[in-house]
Amino acid sequence: MIVEVKVRLRSGILDPQGKAIHHALLSLGHNSVSDVSVGKIITLNINSDDKEKVRQEVTEMCESLLANVVIEDYEILL
């Protein structure tokens, strides 16, 4: 099954890239944008159909490598 992991900076931690993009969008006239954050999507192709087992394993992957939980949140989509 395909699993997507979304990783982004924890809320409350200043996101310099998001801020820069926000400024650029405002300068293009998109004044309705009130905030921008940037993250990454990591796509995993996993040889298993056991959703619960996969969720558990991907959680371990996130905690140990895919996200740095000091500054990042992760979300597992499967």
Binding site: L9, I13, L14, P16, Q17, A20, L65, L66, N68, V70, I71
Partner: protein, 219 residues
């Protein structure tokens, strides 16, 4: 009395570090990251700067799982001295030997220049050649040097902040440029002392830092 200088794919400061310690008459050995153990006479492990694994995922995130790091973590936990510079600092944060994390520089620029640093605490082997409050000028070269930690008060209270930027060039919390662990045997800093080792080239403040481990009789 030997310094083990780690070399990952993408490390680029290992030979500068080797040269710096050769000026101090200290024996060094460059250790490839696929090695599983450190030389038995290792007294100090240096994780030099560079771009291990191309900074993929996050700076230092993948290097931290290289075979040699298991030995380095054990060495540090047994009280061995470890110094991480720039990418080495990032690897120490990712491996949990030091607390906190690195974010992209606040202005998103790769900053490469000499900066003024304040010696915040000299009660440790690395900065034993300085006085608290001394100002030194050492080069930096990084894009991910924006240090962050949730509980910065705890770090300050334990005198774990050892160097501060005079001007906060990258957004680091409390201007932090370098820290150590509670036991004061693991050090990490973004500036490059190995690039300031020759008075003929205008600056030997870095050599004075590296000499701290000699002065403290670790080397």
């Amino acid at each position: 009395m030997s310094v083990a200088i780690l070399q990952f794919l993408g490390t680029n400061c290992e030979y500068d570090m080797e040269y710096a310690y050769s000026l101090l008459g200290v024996k060094t050995k460059i250790i490839w990251h696929k090695e599983e153990s450190l030389p038995s006479d290792t007294k100090l492990v240096v994780i030099p700067g560079g771009f291990s694994y191309g900074d993929y995922l996050r700076s230092g995130a993948i290097a931290r799982f290289s075979p040699i790091m298991k030995s380095v973590i054990k060495f540090a936990n047994d009280g061995g001295y470890v110094l991480g510079i720039c990418n080495g600092f990032q690897i120490l944060l990712e491996s949990g030997l030091l607390d906190g994390a690195m974010k992209r520089n606040e202005n998103l620029h790769f900053i490469s220049k000499s900066v003024d640093l304040e010696v915040v605490d000299n009660n440790n082997a690395f900065l034993s050649n300085f006085n608290t409050g001394d100002m030194v000028n050492v080069p930096i070269a990084h894009a991910d040097g924006n240090y962050y930690i949730d509980n910065v008060e705890e770090l300050e209270k334990n005198n774990q902040v050892i160097l501060r930027y005079k001007d906060n060039i990258n957004g680091s919390i409390n201007n932090i440029a370098g820290i150590c662990n509670k036991q004061k045997n693991v050090f990490g800093l973004m500036p490059h002392p190995e690039r300031a080792v020759d008075s003929l080239l205008g600056n030997d403040a870095g050599l004075k830092m590296l000499h701290g481990f000699v002065k403290s009789r670790i080397l």
